[in-house]
Amino acid sequence: MADFMPAGVVPEARPLDDYADVIGRPQLAEIRNLARYVEGRTFQHVNSTAVGGGVAEILARLVPMMRDLGVDARWSVMEGDAEFFKATKAFHNALHGMLVPLDDSMFDAYERATERNRGLLQDCDYVALHDPQPAGLIEYRRDVRSKFVWRCHIDVSEAEARLWAFLRRRIERFDASIFHLPQYTKGLHIPQVLLPPAIDPLSEKNCDLPDHEVKSIVASHGIDPEKPMVLQVSRFDWLKDPLGVVEAFGIVRRWMECQLVLAGGSASDDPEGAEVLAAVLRRAEGVPDVHILSLPPDAHRTINALQRAATVIVQKSVREGFGLVVTEGMWKGKPVVGGSVGGIRYQLVHDVTGFLVHSPEGCAFRVRQLLADPERARIMGQRAQESVRERYLLPSYIRNWILVLLAMDRGPVPVNHL
């Protein structure tokens, strides 16, 4: 087991050169040239879950690839009890602007877990703490020469005031912060870098699959590979509005022969998933052609096959950090109908690379439009794929992380000659 990864996580140690066919040799050379300026530096990432969820997925790739580039990167996971994860789940929802009762015991649980994990911090040149869960560890920073960055993966623009004040006191002690999108920034008194996340085009979830494998995987879940498929992939979470998707499908299904697949799982830090799944099962009772798949966290190839088999991909979130699942769908050349929120608004150029919708009715209208016009769907999917190739693939993400490290070293100088 690699000692630079959390226990049980296998590094996806793919050489950067493997990406040449996807992004081209010049872009690879750019990353290698840039990496020379941070070669040999130590860089620790800390988050709160080793498996499940977008953060864990990206760290499993980012860390080994940074090492491949000569950066001594490592990843640690903070430990917490049920009380801590219950509190941070409530924090997650409250940061997204949901009305969630927060009480002192939750803040106490957070501080106790932070204190218990203080030994996790290593003396590194750079430390990245991901999301609110480990942010409190900044209080235990030992070496003032280390540069600390807070990486925010969620939309905190409408965060609950008391909670944000609690976090802000901690976050403004970092050297820099990173947000997915400009609208998520919070007027902090530290640099606010904009860094959208990325997908790995060579991972099991995104690599090319032969048609026969796609069909066989789809059929093995009782889905008809020949019937038009509307797909939403996401963990069972109220913020992803799975009930709204079932409602939209009901409208489409009245006049179009098609099937709905809701495929999801739940991350280890999300105790709410089972409750949402039960509600979706109840809502879908009696609606024909609805397939609800509760998949394990490592069902990447299955998700890949479902996305490739889909006719239209839906992501009808009511709140969204960035929505990497939208990026995945776009990368597969599919038209995506997405809720007009968060990172989905940023990724989908309405009527060019996808459709933005505001309601189950709007979702139904656009899905029906795409099912009825396959040529339009094809062109939209093609543009979506090119958009992802330019901006949201792992090699660009790694390059941008190197720039973050350089920017923390150099301060706010607009033009830097290395």
Partner: protein, 215 residues
């Protein structure tokens, strides 16, 4: 005697400028207050950010005016702004301010957009570094340009205009110093509104190749 051509790469880290606009009046205020690197990001960088969609507006201000503010006449005028016509960023800023000011003075009602649809000013922190390719002559230059990435083309062909002075770019300036004025001129005329950075690279390489073959 002309020195060697050293190929550089240019990449940018994007940061929030903590400045937002929710109507034409706050857009104007933002245009006045934003840093030069912010104007550079929203106008120059934007030109090459959305080549996958030809129907897209060429700069961020035009796109926001079109899609969010729904001020189509303003969007059309902003979309026609050519970032390469200006000698400096302040000149580009003044031009944008002039367009928005004159339009805002003529409209009867200034629409405001909700918070989630605001225009957020960003800025680019730029990093320039050598690619390692050095050309002593046209043959070497051709090898360098063939292996160049989009950041190299952006640096020498687009951003260079602010360094070298209009209407030049680093490629043409160096090639002209070699005594190849016609070739330099033909490269100067390549339109960034017609080609992506990758296509610009391929066009420059093809022109040099053709020139060398007629040697």
């Amino acid at each position: 005697m002309t020195g060697p051509f050293r190929f550089n790469d240019e990449v940018a880290l994007i940061k929030a400028a903590s400045l937002a606009a929710d109507d034409l009046s706050s857009l104007l205020a933002g245009l006045r207050r934003a840093s030069d690197s912010s104007i550079f990001y929203h106008v120059h960088h934007a030109l090459f950010r959305r080549h996958f969609a030809a129907s897209e507006m060429s700069n961020d201000f035009a796109r926001w005016a079109w899609i969010t503010l729904r001020e189509e006449p303003l969007a059309e005028r902003l979309a026609a702004v050519d970032p390469l016509q200006f000698r400096s960023i302040p000149e580009a800023r003044d031009h944008l301010i002039g367009i928005v000011e004159s339009y805002a003075g003529r409209v009867r009602f200034l629409a405001r957009v909700p918070r989630e649809h605001e225009f957020h000013f960003c800025e680019a922190q730029t990093f320039v570094f050598p690619t390692g390719h050095v050309a002593e002559d046209l043959e070497g230059f051709l090898r360098g340009i063939r292996g160049a990435g989009s950041g190299t083309i952006f640096h020498h062909f687009i951003a260079a205009r602010h360094r070298v002075g209009l209407p030049d770019n680093d490629f043409s300036a160096w090639i002209e110093a070699l005594g190849e004025r016609d070739l330099a001129d033909r490269i100067r005329k390549l339109s960034p509104f017609r080609y992506t950075l990758w296509e610009l690279r391929d066009r420059v390489a093809a022109m040099i190749e053709e020139h060398l073959s007629h040697g």
